[in-house]
């Protein structure tokens, strides 16, 4: 697999890149200056299974942290994707229109969903680190 931090690869065989931040709703954020790239985590795609449809927001929309950013449908289920961070939608991954399954094969790279111009960089502090997220998932699974 890609640039995963080996120490953070857990026993489930899922990937948790150390350079990303994570939300409780299983989105990831990659910070690039004042921009944020958002997608869903390896854990999320693995739980959902084969992804067959992705609904993305309109360009230019301002989205608040925690608001609905899009929808991901797998064969079995529908999941809402929430904005892990506030900002304006500046790019969406149009490759997902024809090939939504990219999220399954490459959740952290080719399967990215949205690029936001962040409105409050301090919100990054609300998000979990890879180690915290991994712990969060393990606890969640044991519940």
């Amino acid at each position: 697999m890609k640039k995963s931090n080996k120490d953070l690869d857990d026993k489930m065989g899922e990937d948790f890149p150390a350079d990303l931040r994570y939300s409780k709703e299983h989105e990831w954020v990659k910070i690039e200056g004042d921009k944020a790239i958002v997608g869903i985590t390896d854990h999320a795609q693995s739980e959902m299974g084969d992804i067959v449809f992705v609904e993305l927001p309109e360009l230019g929309r301002d989205i608040e942290q925690g608001a609905e950013l899009g929808v991901v449908e797998s064969v079995k289920t529908v999941s809402t994707v929430y904005a892990p961070i506030s900002g304006e939608v500046i790019t969406v991954n149009t490759d997902l229109d024809d090939s939504p399954e990219i999220i399954n094969s490459s959740p952290y790279e080719d399967g990215w969903m949205v690029k936001l111009a962040m409105s409050d960089i301090n919100e990054v502090d609300d998000l979990m680190t890879a180690a915290e997220y991994m712990e969060y998932i393990v606890e969640d699974d044991e519940e």
Partner: protein
């Protein structure tokens, strides 16, 4: 994992294969092992193996049975005319003509075998008691081998070439008289095998090349074949007559229609979705729906998360195998 439910004899086998387990009809069942689409395609193109140990089996001795009552007050189709070794799809009705369960009836010389839905087994047992129909529960548990290579795969254990569609035989395999029927819930050729050695058969058939398949693929396969699923297309409230109004919908965009989504023509609500999915074979979103008026080729809209998405009424089934 805290989900509760009964476990089939194959539960440990599913864990060994790293299946994702979900509660279904009171049981803990594998929903998938690798991927729904991959398992679906394995059945359409090769051969897949399903645990159906959750299905209920009820033996009904013919001695003392009031067959006239059973046919006139309980079943939607006759069974008295069944030949030896023949199977017929049937439905049990309540006093309001609602569907209690949809079942397969196997005709033995001295008994009928009812194969009933897992989630309805207790209900059917109570129903039979109310109708003073005596039953017993055989120990055999089911596994289903489905796909174009099913007969070839079975030949590793025994010959099933002589078993015709919707017929069954009892064949001695591994020292046991095993019930093998040419039936299934996928729209492909295949067999349902009822045995007291489910683990042994499971392992042997995997070794013979079958791919383990979960309930996820079972659902997409039966939906493409337009086979109803109790709790979706059928219920205690839906009559046999109403169930004939089931229509097929093919979405014209990629939105996936799901159970209970509403269907419109122009602004008029005309019905609702009973089951919907992405069809791995057609590579389109499809659904079954109860619609007030059904015209093939008619353009309708399905409401998906508040937005209307275009669909067209198509004939069922969505998929029919080449013979």
């Amino acid at each position: 994992m805290t989900a509760e439910g009964k476990r089939t004899e194959l539960y440990a086998e599913h864990l060994k294969l790293k299946a994702k387990i979900v509660p279904f009809g009171g049981w803990l069942m594998p929903v998938l092992y690798t991927s729904v689409i991959e398992e679906h395609n394995a059945v359409r193109e090769r051969v897949g193996l399903f645990d159906i140990g959750h299905m209920g089996l009820l033996d009904i001795p013919k001695a003392g049975l009031d067959l006239k009552h059973l046919e006139e007050h309980c079943l939607t189709r006759k069974i008295a005319d069944l030949e030896a070794g023949q199977i017929r799809y049937n439905r049990l009705l309540n006093e309001r003509q609602g569907i209690v369960d949809d079942i397969l009836v196997y005709n033995y010389p001295d008994k009928y075998l009812f194969v009933v839905n897992a989630s309805n087994t207790d209900k059917v047992k109570n129903y039979l008691k109310e109708h003073q129909i005596v039953y017993s529960e055989p120990k055999k548990k089911g596994i289903a081998l489905q796909g174009p290579l099913a007969e070839k795969t079975m030949s590793a254990l025994c010959s099933t070439a002589e078993i015709k569609y919707y017929r069954f035989k009892e064949i001695e395999v591994f020292g046991e008289m095993v019930l093998i029927s040419r039936t299934g819930y996928t729209g492909e050729d295949g067999f349902e095998i009822y045995t007291e050695q489910a683990v042994l058969f499971w392992q042997k058939l995997l070794t013979a090349g079958a791919q383990p398949c979960g309930l996820g693929a079972r659902d997409t396969l039966r939906l493409e074949a337009a086979m109803p699923l109790y709790g979706h297309e059928l219920s205690d409230e839906i009559t046999d007559e109403q169930s004939k109004k089931l229509a097929g919908l093919e979405m014209l965009d990629k939105a996936v229609p799901r159970e209970k989504y509403r269907v419109f023509t122009n602004e008029k609500e005309i019905g609702y979705i009973t089951s919907g999915t992405f069809s791995p074979t057609l590579k389109k979103a499809i659904a079954m729906a109860y619609l007030d008026s059904v015209k093939l080729g008619e353009r309708v809209d399905v409401e998906v998360r508040g937005n209307r998405h275009p669909a067209v009424v198509v004939s069922l089934p969505f998929y029919k195998r080449k013979k």
